[in-house]
Structure formats: C-alpha cells, structure tokens
C-alpha cells in the first residue's frame, strides 16, 4: 500500500501544516459574516416550511433552458397560514392565504429590511427583486408572526 498522510509523524505534520495554511487564506469579512448570522438565533416567530418550489420540480429544465428567466413559484406553510410567492423578472409578488391584511418584511443577510403592506386579500409585492438571499417575515393584522426559510432566486 502507498503511504498515507497519517502513516508517520512527518506526513502527519505536513498535513497539519497545509491545513493551517488553508485557514490563513480565509478573509476576515467571510468569518465576520458567519458570526453575524447568529442574530437569527431564537427569533420569536413561527417558521413556515417550504412545501412547494417550482425550481425543485424541474431541475433539469432549469439547467438547460435558454429562455428568459422563468417564473418561479414557491409556497411556504405554517399552521393555518400559507404564503404563496411568485417571482417574475421585475417583482416578487405574494399572497397570504387565507386572505387577510398584514405587514410583510423582507430580510436580507446583511441586516437590510424592506417592507410592504399586504392588502385585504393578502396580496403584497416587492419591486425590484431582491439581489442575493432573503427571507420574509409576515405579521398579519390578526396577530400572527410567521417567518419563511431563506430564499435564493
């Protein structure tokens, strides 16, 4: 058999050296962004699970399609409240189901928050589309506080 990285002390020490050098290559901002993610720990909202994602239904299409950006549809569900999302080139449009008014926040990882009102039939829109990943937090007028998972378009 060929000698392995753990076979003797010299090999082990050299493997350790390359592991430590790899760690030095990581930019500080990358580490700091990771630490900042802890702000999302124990957020006091119900989590809505992704129950439908049009992209997951057809990953192969997504890989080979040559047309303009396809519409993407997603559904997030918490008990008694569903959030339907549709993505077009210009906007993220959504609806709270059952239909009800409320207030929707769009959170981005850097802490930026955009807001939109949901009308009497629960419809809301964000224009332009958010760049990068985001999640939605929906406060209904009836007092529900529901948070989606992270979404990347």
């Amino acid at each position: 058999m060929t000698s392995q990285w753990w076979s003797d002390d010299d090999r082990l020490l050299s493997a350790l050296g390359s592991a430590l050098r790899a760690a030095h290559a990581v930019p500080d901002r990358f580490v700091e962004a990771g630490k900042a993610a802890y702000a999302w720990h124990n957020i006091d909202a119900e989590l809505a699970a992704l129950t439908y994602d049009s992209r997951r239904e057809s990953p192969q299409d997504a890989l080979t399609r040559a047309e303009p950006a396809p519409l993407r549809a997603m559904t997030f569900a918490a008990s008694g409240l569903t959030i339907e999302l549709h993505v077009s080139n210009e906007a993220l449009v959504g609806q709270l189901v059952p239909e009800q008014p409320g207030h929707v926040e769009l959170h981005q990882p850097d802490g930026l928050i955009r807001t939109a009102d949901a009308d009497e039939i629960g419809c809301f829109a964000f224009r332009p589309l958010p760049a990068g990943s985001f999640r939605l937090r929906c406060h209904t007028d009836s007092g529900r506080d529901v948070l989606t998972g992270w979404i990347s378009l």
Partner: protein, 205 residues
Amino acid sequence: MRDDPVVVALVAGARDGSKAAWDELVERYAPLVYSICRRFRLSEADTDDVGQTVWLRLVERLSSLREPAALPGWLATTTRRECLAVVRATRQRELREGPVDSEIGVDAAEIDRALLEDERDAVLRDAFAELSDRCRVLLSYLLEDPPVTYAEIARRLGMPVGGVGPNRDRCLKRLRRCPSLAALIGSAADTVEGGEGHDKSVVER
C-alpha cells in the same frame, strides 16, 4: 464517529444562547466552508453568499442537530449543495446570454476528492486547536517556512536541544489522540486496509 467533546460543547453552547460559542464554531469551520467555495471556483461575491446561507442554515439547525460531532460533514455537504446551486444559476444566466462552452466548468469527481481533503483539514485544525498552548507553539515552530533549526526552537522555548524531538513526538501523539482525528484515521485506515493492518495501532494508543 466518536463524539468530539469540544465540538459537542460548542454546539450546545451556541444552542443555549452563547454568542462566544457560536463565534468559535464559525472561526473553526469558516476555513472549511471557504475552501469548498474555492474548489467550485466561485467568485468572491458568490463565495460570500454561499457562506452566509450555510451559516444561516446552521443557526436554524442548532436545536435539531442530533450529532454535533458530525458537524464538519454536515457543513461540507451543505456548502457543496449551495455551491452547486450557484454554479447552476450562473450556467443558466450564461445560456440566456448566448452560446457558451458545453463544459460546466467543474469536475464533480475531482471536487469530491478535494472535499475529503477539506474535511480532513478541518479535523486536523480541530485536533490542533485542542492541544495545549505549548504543543501548539512547538508544532507551529516546526511548521515555519523557511524551516527553523531544532537549536533555534530549543532556544525560543527555553528547552535543551535534545528535548525538541521527544516533545514533537509527544505533541503529535496527542494530536492523533484527539477523538475526531482518531476516528477519521480509524475510518480512513479501514478503507485502505480493509479493516485490519498496522495502521490501526496509531489510533489505539
């Protein structure tokens, strides 16, 4: 895999609200996440996005992570999946903008091999972090580039020249004994040796 008590304690701490424990987890494993992004040749901006997504997913998983000791593997898998999503999205965009080479740009088999190296590196750094200060300093001196003589190391540490070699052996023995590294070597030796052979001895000391 045997539990690495330090990692288990850090995960438990972060779950129970310790920002310091979370910060240490990030410091420990950011190099793993980062190096995987480099394997996929992601841009700096995409690398930052993937990093953020991975840490946010971990924040959400803290309370349900059943095997904290398997964290490096979970991080590697999650990062790999997010990287592939970025590669696909980039590819989709390029196709929309016009004909491109049919190559996807990354070789999956090569990346899988590289990911094993990245996970190994993470375990080695874990084991190193758990050594005593004295061992960490000694091994760092031994790893300096350009190399430092034993005489110089002995002078810096205030020990006889004859003590450097035995201390090196002792520190590397402790490194091998760290639970996660011992487990990794054990399973790697099983793969290579079909479950038996002289390599087993190194993990049982």
